[in-house]
Amino acid sequence: MSSPSLPTARTKRQALGPYGRVGKVVEELDDRLGVAKGGRVFLDKIFPDHWSFMLGEIALYSFVVLMATGIFLALYFVPSTTQVIYHGTYAPLRGQSVSEAYQSTVNISFGVRGGLLIRQMHHWAADIFVASIVVHMARIFFTGAFRKPRELNWTIGTLMLIMAILEGFIGYSLPDDLISGTGLRIGYSIVESIPFAGSYVATFLWGGQFPGDGSIEGRFYIIHVLIIPLVITGLLAAHLGLLVRQKHTQFKGEGRTETNVVGSPMFPTFMAKTTGFLFMTAGVTALLGAFAQINPIWQFGSYNPSKISYAVQPDWYMGWLDGALRIMPSWEFAGWGHTVPLEVFLPAVIFPGLIFNIAFAWPALERRLTGDNDLHNLLDRPRDRPKRTAAGAAMLALLFTLFAASSTDVLANYFHVSLNLVLWSFRVLTVAVPIVVGLVTYGLCLEMQGVQGIGKRKRAVIVHRSAEGEYTTVTAAPRPGDGHEELAPEPVPVRIDIAPLAASTPGGNGESSSTGSRQVSR
């Protein structure tokens, strides 16, 4: 070291320290940010292995796909309702008066290399995004993962669902095609239906009576590409931050307690699996974009407020609201010189408000009803909480029935029955199905509680006949993999070795890190 010899590869390596460049980077970072200790803990963070923990990842990764494809689309989309004459590559539209927004969207589809694919991927990813949030939320609900201490993360997640639905609606309103324009017309009328403030909010937002002065396009654009994505990104950061701080929940099983987490570590195992899953999510979205056509706006034409198409349906996540609007009786209130369109205001404003408020309030509601104010890190099996499971199933049944009700006209047409019959059926079903589903779920949960070995693979029963002719039955020995690992695993070996962390912080390591550190193994 002291001799002024030329630096060789070996001396260079030695100067970098035992961990080479990586060690050097960690050192420099730690000097400035003090990341090493927390970083090591983060690399060791344990992720419980269960397929249902992947549902939230689908949401996260479809959001990544949305951002990537959205940036591409934003390079070519023109958010303007200025009317122009179409002269693009799509022959059937040539010479027609269309808006710049519509023209640029058709141009993305046919004039930009890979544009149609990216557009379709973006739309599919949006549908997947909302769907995976809903399924993820159902998993959280039915397993009781929202309970104390995780109520705040439930609230953040519900907020993200609302944001995702709004973002989706605003997004498919942007191309200014016939379907999206009709959606906006309905949206305007829903805003207008709000007592006292409705007509003011509507004309403020749209810049006058529908269709307004065109400002809604620009406003929706900036909300869609900047404001809501920022809000979602912020909520997402908080969602994941809380997840790291509070650690994962896990299903019950041997070796799993309220005070530990059992699973595989962040680095490298979980990192590899989840990065692979990001690629798979993107891949599936790309395949859908390649082979499953979605929102072919060139077939619908540019929006003209006096034109309409048959079988007008919104994207799937707005279907429940459309269904509610369809089955609502025409109960407009008129009197004292005022009109309150209850046939719109109740199903399209009050009803979704009620649903989301129930969602927000549920953790507190359940805490009050059960008197359970304890911290919970172990998940419930849905059958063990029959009332909660029944309530959740009834809610999903209600929303699904309303979703189906948004296709009354298509169903009547397809089955050759009168619209009247279909409509009244759905009015009855909307009340009946949730009740029946709730009761049946409740009963099923109670039944399943009494059954042993449910959820495990059935074992073969071997029938023996003895020499005397007597028949006996013997249950076969379990084959490997027969045991339900999640429910009855082997006693869990403790394997992560924390010694290096303890050794790297000489002085005062023993007593302070005793609760937080993993146990020394082997």
């Binding site: 059992v262 570590p265 619209l419 403790v494 992560i496």
Partner: protein
């Protein structure tokens, strides 16, 4: 496996390195899946998948460069990404240490002294502020409160015009000539019985207001001089009856006409309006009849409006006043 050997090998030269074992389960571990029990085979298969993914991704590059069909670009991109992701996930699942490992949870809650000290600081210090300097706090709250209110109003107010009377009226007035989207007027023989068209006040057929607000559906029915309701004896000369095309439910254009039953149908939420009796809603969520436009033939034989609509067209809103014609 080979990783372990490498670690050992390196350690000879760099004795200061600390070994951080991430033990790979023994092959007899009951937690191991079948595939993981034969790591060499798993590695070969994963290598194959990753290689295939790499090739297909290269194909994606070719497809994009050469501008193939969108489905080909998407297929190569999607399949390539999926294969790479699948390989990586399988690598993580079968060839990386699965554990199960155990991590103890930290107790998030602080000690009761720490809680007490935070609450004490909040309560005691704010008590000092509020008790001693009520006046200052009050003035500051007043000032920022006023700023909050003032900030909201100009922001909202500058977004757009207040509704005023814009929602009440249309551009139809006494003598407005009915024209189609191409600006052609309508005379006695334009429609056959059972025919339907959309008309606008002359000059507004290509404006957004004309299309969104003034749009009117014109139908010719069998009866000459159809009387749809009391007081509307002269409104439908020669069977030409005109209604606002805006559904009273949510403002969609009532664009479907069921000719046999003489019903106007809204495709959005299936409200149905009876053309014969003043477009009274017969089915669906629409609460009010479509307003009817009174018509007459002028000296040239062209259809004109006797006057505007007698009520606001389209869906309901709070300021909409009740009119006699509201009916059901």
């Amino acid at each position: 496996m080979s990783d372990e050997q490498e670690h050992g090998h390196v350690q000879e030269h760099e004795p200061t390195r600390t070994k951080v074992p991430m033990p790979i389960a023994t092959l007899s571990d009951p937690h191991l899946g079948d595939a993981a029990k034969n790591p060499a085979r798993a590695e070969a298969i994963i290598a194959l998948i990753l290689l295939l993914g790499t090739i297909v991704i290269a194909g994606f590059g070719a497809a994009y460069w050469d501008n193939w069909n969108p489905w080909a670009i998407g297929a190569t991109m999607g399949a390539g990404l999926f294969l790479l992701g699948f390989g990586l996930t399988a690598w993580g699942k079968y060839l990386m240490p699965q554990g199960p490992f155990v991590e103890e949870r930290h107790v998030l809650a602080s000690s009761s002294e720490e809680r007490g000290s935070m609450a004490a600081a909040l309560v005691e210090r704010s008590a000092v502020v509020v008790k001693r300097r009520k006046l200052l706090g009050g003035i500051f709250a007043l000032g920022s409160g006023i700023f909050g209110i003032v900030a909201i109003f100009p922001l909202l107010r500058s977004l757009g015009p207040p509704p005023g009377t814009s929602l009440k009226g249309t551009d139809w007035k006494k003598g407005s000539l009915l024209v189609d989207s191409n600006g052609r007027s309508v005379n006695h023989g334009t429609l056959v019985v059972g025919g339907i068209m959309t008309v606008y006040p002359e000059g507004l057929q290509n404006t957004s207001v004309g299309q969104a607000v003034d749009q009117t559906v014109l139908i010719r029915v069998q009866d000459s001089d159809l009387v749809t309701a009391e007081g509307r004896e002269s409104w439908a000369p020669a069977g030409y009856v005109a209604y606002s095309k805006l559904c009273t439910h949510l403002g969609c254009p009532v664009g479907l006409y069921e000719q046999q039953l003489e019903l106007l149908v809204c495709p959005c939420h299936q409200s149905m309006f009876n053309v014969r009796n003043g477009a009274v809603p017969q089915f669906g969520p629409a609460p009010r009849p479509l307003p009817q436009l009174p018509l007459y033939f002028d000296a040239n034989g062209d259809l004109r409006a006797q006057g505007g609509y007698d009520q606001a067209v389209g869906p309901g809103y709070f300021e909409r006043t009740t009119t006699k014609e509201n009916g059901t």
